[in-house]
């Protein structure tokens, strides 16, 4: 019985080859749109994360701080909400870093014999606190701790940068959501249009006494098959495009700076399953409409 249903569904697809091809192409293209955007967005998000990790506060210590005080302070800072890490940077390390940063002009630091820099903690924020407001609040809290001289965090720059990143991310989610909803509609609509051409057939089947279940099953199977085909073709297309782009840029990109990945296997599988579900939903909506009367 099961295999008969499956056979009926496949036969049906073959009998309506043209329309089914058109439908599979539409589904594949929709999957391609959504998944290519998802691919872009996950990779871009990683990039943004890397950049955002650069947001930090420097906590300059009082020159009189003892080693014991320093450990206390580190403990106290790390206890604060929103802090992910507090790394000690000795004044020696700070000067060395600065020299590296200054490049050619570093020669002018050579002459400084008594190192004028203070010891410091570099405080990094936990991912969910990388906002202007959080860093401000945190700085205030740290400033109140003993042995802290000053807290520096590039107020303006961070504000703008996090705002841009947040906006990019918001726009990304918004566009992703939009694309998803749009293609869901498109696929469901396409399946509806497809079934529209079968309306007469459905009406006749009902008139000769078949149950709705008997009518629906092959269509559902077809919807799921079409969804699966569309999903697989779409994801294959994406993989091919991804492969092409990453080949093209392979030479120029150092692995650490921007390491692009394809969508993980579970997401890929999820998209294909999703596409099958949409095929099913498209059938469901059409059939509901036709079988209402």
């Amino acid at each position: 019985m099961k295999s008969l249903l499956f056979k009926r569904a496949l036969q049906d697809i073959l009998n309506n080859r043209f329309l089914n091809t058109v439908t599979v192409i539409t589904i594949a293209l929709s999957v391609l749109i959504v998944s290519s955007f998802a691919l872009f967005f996950t990779n871009a998000n990683e990039l943004l994360d890397t950049w955002k990790k650069g947001i930090r506060a420097l906590v300059y210590l009082n020159p009189e701080t003892t080693d014991a005080n320093r450990l206390d302070l580190k403990y106290n800072i790390q206890k604060l909400n929103g802090v992910s890490e507090a790394r000690f940077i000795s004044r020696k390390e700070a000067l060395a870093q600065m020299k590296v940063q200054m490049g050619r002009q570093s020669s002018l630091l050579e002459s400084l014999k008594p190192n004028p820099l203070p010891d410091a903690f570099e405080v990094r924020l936990s991912p969910d606190s990388q906002t202007m407001a959080a860093i401000e609040k945190l700085s205030k809290a740290i400033e109140l701790l003993p042995h802290v001289d000053e807290v520096e965090y590039g107020r303006q720059w961070i504000g703008k940068f996090t705002n841009i990143i947040n906006m990019l991310r918001f726009v990304g989610y918004a566009m992703g959501g939009l694309f998803l909803v749009a293609t869901l509609f498109i696929v469901a609509n396409t399946v509806r249009l497809l079934l529209y051409s079968r309306q007469e057939e459905i009406a006749i089947m009902r008139l000769v006494g078949t149950t709705d279940r008997f009518i629906k099953m092959p269509f559902y199977i077809q919807g799921v098959i079409l969804g699966a085909l569309g999903g697989i073709i779409g994801m294959s297309g994406l993989y091919f495009a991804f492969w092409f782009v990453s080949e093209k840029f392979h030479r120029g990109l150092s692995a650490e700076l921007l390491d692009i990945h394809f969508l993980p296997l579970d997401v890929t599988a999820g998209i294909i399953v999703g596409s099958m579900i949409i095929g099913w939903i498209g059938c469901y909506l059409s059939l509901k409409q036709f079988l209402k009367a």
């Binding site: 309506n16 008139l207 000769v208 006494g209 078949t210 149950t211 709705d212």
Partner: protein, 224 residues
């Protein structure tokens, strides 16, 4: 004598309106088990409409219809398949599925009832042979002549051995010989206990057969 309780199909004061138009007007009728009934009347009299009401192809506007103790005015649409399986319907416009072969069109009825593959095959072939369409079993309806389509429609109606046959103009597209074959088939089924209701304006057909004749005109019963 037949009493009311023997009636397989009962219509009480049935009305069917399309907008302002009365397609059927106050029809009351009892059809008994194993009757052979003709429904006749000019074009537009309401013959097809009456049949449509019986198979729930349309819902009635007023009145009651009982078929085999099922009250069609009250029954939920979900039970339509149950009703329709008791019926074999020959539609005036055949209603064959154009994308399925002759064989598939006929076997569909049995498949939907969950019959075994083997039984279906045997039964469908035998019915197609009876109507003279066995050789065309792999054709699609658009590749058949009008009469051939009608034969397939008849085959589909009788293949499930229904208790009731509703035949709307079952020989309209057929030459005298073919019509005779089809009519013999209906008579045969009647002899095996089925109730047969034939809508037709073929006066000759009615004359040659014996059976009750109901004459409709403009939605009313004008003669019985």
């Amino acid at each position: 004598m037949k009493c009311h309780d023997d009636a397989l199909i009962r219509l009480f004061h049935v009305y069917k309106r399309y907008g302002a138009k009365n397609a059927l007007f106050d029809i009351s009728l009892d059809i008994f088990k194993n009757e052979f009934l003709f429904l006749t009347g000019p074009s537009g009299a309401g013959k097809s409409t009456l049949l449509k009401l019986l198979y729930l192809g349309e819902s009635l506007s007023e009145g009651q219809i009982l078929i085999d103790r099922m009250n069609l005015a009250r029954v939920s649409r979900k039970r339509a398949p149950e009703l329709r399986r008791k019926l074999g319907i020959i539609f005036q416009d055949y209603k064959l599925i154009p994308t399925k072969t002759v064989y598939e069109n006929v076997s569909l009825v049995l498949e939907a009832r969950g019959m075994s593959h083997k039984f279906i095959q045997k039964k469908v072939h035998s019915v197609l042979r009876t109507v003279g369409m066995e050789k065309r079993k792999k054709s699609f309806p658009p590749g058949l002549s009008g009469g051939e389509q009608q034969k397939v429609a008849v085959a589909r109606a009788v293949v499930g051995e229904p208790k009731i046959i509703l035949a709307d103009e079952p020989t309209g597209s057929l030459d005298a010989d073919s019509a005779g074959t089809i009519f013999d088939l209906l008579t045969n089924i009647h002899a095996r206990g089925a109730t047969v209701l034939v809508a037709t304006h073929d006066a000759e057909l009615i004359r040659s057969a014996k059976g009750r004749v109901i004459q409709l005109k403009e939605g009313k019963v004008v003669a019985e």
